[in-house]
């Protein structure tokens, strides 16, 4: 019979039981020790004096300890679990609605469906005074499950039956902590937490419950659903690379996805894609067992703004783990003004517009004479590229450039690759930089890349976070002379700045001491050169795209946490939610969602969790994740199993009054015993209770002799 404490914190006072013993020992130490000529008179009077007193002392001590223990236990409000006894119980049913619960049980029923039915049985079997609540392991904004224990059973029944599996993986520790907190609000002392789950190994091995998750008075029962064995393929789909920056409209966007087969047999599936423009594609993919296949999907969007696309696998058992939603932020096709002729800029125009036009990068390289610069600036180019030798000498053009940069434009200054020109024209003073005379080292020097965390190195860093472009060599260069406001991004081995950047109000200025020609350095020959140039053009826009890609059921935080928010689905799982941002449960399923807060609009695209396709489940045994939380694991094969387990442990007998009564009785006996020597009645009673002690004769030798006399 289990014993539960309603107020377990009181149990911390239990060490107080030792107080009487401490007092006893303290006063025992205070007794006086005295020499005496002979003990024979004492032994003659009552040789049992010492033993009797000791017995009484220890009896009183025992009673005092017992009194304190009973009092503390009574205050802790213990409840004795009695089989079949009455009493009310608060139950919380925590239903695992992770992606793996969409699969079937051995009986051919969907696991979540069986969980719903079992919960329904439990709701129907509630007794008067019982409290019951149902929570989902993955919070679902579409769920109508009422919070707390006050729900009407019919409403609860209906809400449970409408639950659908999510596409994400559950954070089991978080869900259990939340459930225990909810149980803590129950008014009944007897509490039960029923977790209905398939014990999918990936979910139940993630995270840590933490030592603070205590469940006093809560009986935790895990109802394990028996999953049907997977004999076919079990394919998951997840995006590996997706664009993190704004995409010029019309640019082709490659997205790499991985199809991984977790099943024991080869999977023959169809991979379908669709986007918001209505383009639908489908292809057949074969994935070997326990292998993965990488596929690059391409999308292109003609208009600026937000666009989405979806990919999903058809013909596989892990339906919740093979759906992907993607979001893209497109901007208008951009142009970069090159002031001069094409030859003045070597490979740079090709890095800006790889196809010679805006088809691939969404950026067009436009060559303009210097005298038309002012007119061209009116078209708001993405960037303007000058050579050091072609810097405008008239004040109006220089002023126009300065205004352009101040308003957010990007200015590039590069040397002319023609080696015959070594003396540049004087740059404007507001630039704060100039290029020195050409230098040609005898041996090629390495190019050193600095400022590891700078956005210009995005997608160019190695595993250690260092920017890497392979082995970079410089053959000739013009060292830059810059002020303190310039940030050095690359230098020669001798420390000469060769690539620098400065912010100029809202815009930026890049200055290079290297012409992007293979004659000057090996940089243009590197694959990362195009990325470097694209990063420089888009700069800080990386990461500021209002689109977030995440896995379903991942923790989501709004930009404005304290504000109201509206969440609507654009594709995938339907969702229309409105409320305080802090109350939003999250995105449990795959889809594309639009989030509005004040005048801010963001988009979220969620994908299924590949882990949910892994058909590995924990056995019917205590779960390691809950090692510090006592629990039972029982099989749930039929929907009636849950109710049977429950009623076997219904508890009812409160020991509060009994313990209090016993404590008072003990106190009474203790008081009587402690004052026994001054009370004749007490002495008589004592002797009647311990007659053997009262009549026992001495066995002491001296006493025996005295008795003879």
């Amino acid at each position: 019979m289990p014993l539960f404490l309603s107020h377990p914190a009181v149990a911390w006072l239990l060490p107080a039981i030792a107080l009487p013993i401490l007092f006893h020992l303290f006063f025992r130490l205070r007794r006086t020790v005295q020499d005496f000529p002979s003990l024979m008179f004492f032994l003659r009077i009552d040789p049992r004096l010492s033993a009797k007193r000791k017995i009484r002392e220890w009896l009183i001590l025992l009673l005092r300890c017992l009194f304190i223990a009973l009092l503390i236990l009574a205050l802790a409000r213990p409840l004795l679990g009695l089989k079949g006894a009455g009493g009310n119980v608060a139950r919380l049913v925590l239903i695992d609605n992770s992606g793996s619960m969409a699969a079937t049980t051995t009986a051919g029923l969907a696991k979540l469906n069986l969980a719903e039915r079992a919960t329904g049985k439990l709701i129907a079997a509630q007794r008067k005074g019982d409290a019951l609540a149902v929570q989902l392991m993955i919070p679902d904004p579409t769920s109508t499950l009422p919070h707390g224990f006050d729900a009407v059973p019919a409403v609860l029944q209906d809400s449970v039956s409408k639950s659908t599996p999510s596409d994400g993986g559950a954070s089991v520790p978080k869900a259990i902590r939340l459930a225990l907190a909810t149980l803590g609000t129950a008014i009944t002392a007897q509490r039960e937490l029923h977790i209905i789950t398939d014990l999918q190994q990936k979910n139940w091995s993630r995270g840590d419950l933490g030592a603070e998750a205590q469940a006093p008075n809560v009986r935790v029962i895990i109802h394990r659903l028996e999953s049907a064995p997977v004999t076919t393929g079990s394919v998951s789909l997840e995006p590996l690379e997706s664009p993190a920056r704004a995409i010029p409209a019309g640019r082709i966007v490659p997205v790499r996805v991985a199809l991984q087969n977790h099943g024991p047999a080869a999977a023959h599936v169809r991979l379908n894609t669709s986007d918001d423009s209505g383009k639908n594609l489908s292809r057949t993919v074969e994935v070997a067992p326990n292998a993965s296949s990488l596929i690059t999907l391409t999308f292109s969007f003609g208009n600026p703004g937000f666009h989405w696309a979806q990919a999903w696998v058809e013909g596989d058992v892990a339906s919740t783990a093979n759906r992907v939603a993607l979001g893209f932020w497109c901007i208008d096709a951009q142009k970069v003004l090159f002031i001069g002729t094409k030859n003045d800029f070597a490979a740079l125009p090709y890095a800006v517009a790889p196809g010679g036009n805006a088809d691939l990068s969404g950026i067009d390289a436009v060559f303009t004479p210097a005298d038309q610069l002012i007119a061209s600036l009116a078209t708001k180019p993405l960037a303007v590229v000058f050579t050091w030798d072609n810097w405008p000498q008239d004040g109006a053009t220089s002023q126009a450039l300065q205004d352009y940069v101040k308003k957010g434009g990007t200015l590039f200054l590069v040397p002319v690759p023609d080696t015959g020109v070594t003396i540049s024209r004087l740059a404007a003073a507001w630039l704060g930089a100039s290029a020195g005379a050409m230098q040609t080292p005898k041996d090629a020097e390495p190019l050193l890349l600095l400022q590891d965390g700078d956005a210009i190195w995005h997608d160019l860093r190695n595993g250690e976070g260092r920017p890497t472009l392979g082995s970079l060599r410089i053959f000739q260069y013009r060292p830059l002379k810059t002020g303190a406001e310039w940030q050095i991004l690359a230098t020669s081995a001798q420390g000469s700045p060769l690539l620098v950047r400065r912010n100029f109000e809202q815009g930026r200025i890049f200055a290079s001491g290297l012409a992007f020609s293979p004659k000057w350095s090996s940089l243009p020959l590197k694959a990362g050169f195009v990325v470097l140039v694209q990063n420089a053009l888009f700069g800080e826009q990386i990461g500021s795209v209002p689109v977030r890609l995440m896995k379903a059921a991942e923790e989501f935080h709004f930009d404005l946490t304290g504000e109201q928010a509206t969440v609507k689905s654009l594709a995938g799982s339907a969702l229309d939610w409105q409320g305080a941002a802090r109350n939003f449960p999250g995105f449990p399923r795959t889809g594309v969602y639009e989030i509005k807060q004040r005048d801010h609009v963001n988009w979220v695209a969620t994908s299924g969790n590949a882990d949910e396709a892994v058909p590995d489940f924990l056995p019917l045994a205590p779960v390691p994740l809950l090692h510090n939380l006592p629990h039972d694991v029982v099989a749930l094969v039929h929907e009636e199993d849950l109710a049977q387990t429950d009623f076997a442990q219904r508890s009812g007998l409160s020991l509060y009054r009994w313990l209090l009564l016993t404590a008072l009785l003990v106190l009474l006996v203790e008081t009587w015993l402690a004052n026994e020597r001054s009370s004749d009645l007490g002495r008589k009673l004592f002797r009647s209770l311990l007659p053997s002690l009262a009549s026992r004769k001495s066995i002491s030798g001296k006493a025996r002799e005295l008795t003879k006399v």
């Binding site: 006086t32 020790v33 005295q34 005496f36 000529p37 002979s38 024979m40 004492f42 009077i45 009552d46």
Partner: protein, 296 residues
């Protein structure tokens, strides 16, 4: 005392006070010299004893001619002989006497003072006094002395004796009875912490050997009144046995037991023809000695 040294157990002030006291024996004593005490023999004292017929060989000057004139018989008038006595003071030196609670001195010191006073009295009246210490046997013995000069070394030696060991009074009294060949005044000074039955056997042995026995029962007042309070752990001075008592609780019954014991010892001594005196360590020495000295 003519000695210039002040003895611990016989201070000059006490000696001066007790000098006038005298100690006598109940039974006739056999001393070596003329003394103050009645002898079982006939002698030349002023105290008439009896008449007897003249026997040939008696000295003619012993014939009471007045009787002859009246009865025509030769009668000899005999007188009671007076002799000195031999006393033996037995002092208990067991560890239980090393106790002092309410009195000014320990029981042993008091016993020694009492012994010194008695010996001084005896010597002063021309008797011989011997001294022995005992525990569970005779531990130290001093030969009889008959003058204050010979008493002094004994008094000095007494100061060196320390009470220790377990006592056995009965055994010691048996040993004393065997040791004393001549009728003696035997004065036992002890706390008599032994079952009365055993004590009686020892006294009877001495009485049987025609000794005149006197017992001084030395007690500290605390042994009777049990003045301590609360929880007390008592440690037996002789056996180191311990006993935890609640003094207030046990006091009445303890006092009753002690009084019963004293009465029992007194009854036994009376039955044996021995003198029995209880003295507390608070009792002035002169007063204690006077109890015995003024007996006859």
């Amino acid at each position: 005392m003519s000695s210039a040294r002040a003895f611990k157990y016989l201070p000059p002030r006490v000696a001066d006070h007790i000098r006038g006291l005298g100690i006598s024996a109940r039974r006739p004593m056999q001393g070596g010299i003329q003394g103050l005490h009645r002898s079982p023999d006939f002698g030349a004292s002023v105290e008439f004893a009896e008449y007897r017929d003249y026997i040939e060989g008696d000295a003619p000057n012993l014939i009471d001619w007045s009787v002859y004139a009246k009865t025509d018989r030769y009668m000899i008038r005999r007188f009671q002989d007076e002799t000195s006595l031999r006393a033996c003071v037995l002092v208990d030196a067991s560890a239980s006497l090393n106790y002092r609670q309410t009195g000014p001195v320990t029981k042993f010191e008091y016993a020694c003072s009492l012994a010194a006073g008695l010996m001084y009295l005896l010597v002063c009246q021309g008797d011989a006094a011997a001294l022995s210490f005992f525990t569970d046997k005779m531990t130290q013995r001093f030969e009889p002395v008959a003058s204050t000069e010979t008493l002094s070394p004994i008094l000095l030696e007494m100061e060196k004796v320390e009470p220790k060991g377990a006592g056995d009074i009965e055994k010691s009294l048996h040993e004393a009875a065997e040791m004393l060949k001549q009728r003696s005044l035997v004065i036992v000074i002890s706390d008599l912490l032994q079952p009365p039955a055993q004590l009686a056997r020892g006294i009877q042995h001495l009485q049987h050997n025609r000794h005149d026995v006197t017992l001084f029962h030395v007690l500290d007042a605390a042994e009777i009144a049990l003045p301590m309070h609360g929880l007390v752990e008592l440690r037996d001075l002789e056996s180191t046995e311990k006993l935890l008592i609640e003094a207030d609780e046990i006091r009445p019954r303890y006092a009753q037991a002690v009084q019963g014991y004293l009465a029992e010892v007194s009854r036994i001594c009376t039955a044996c023809g021995a003198h029995y005196f209880t003295v507390e360590t608070r009792t002035p020495m002169v007063e204690a000695l006077a109890k015995r000295a003024n007996l006859f």
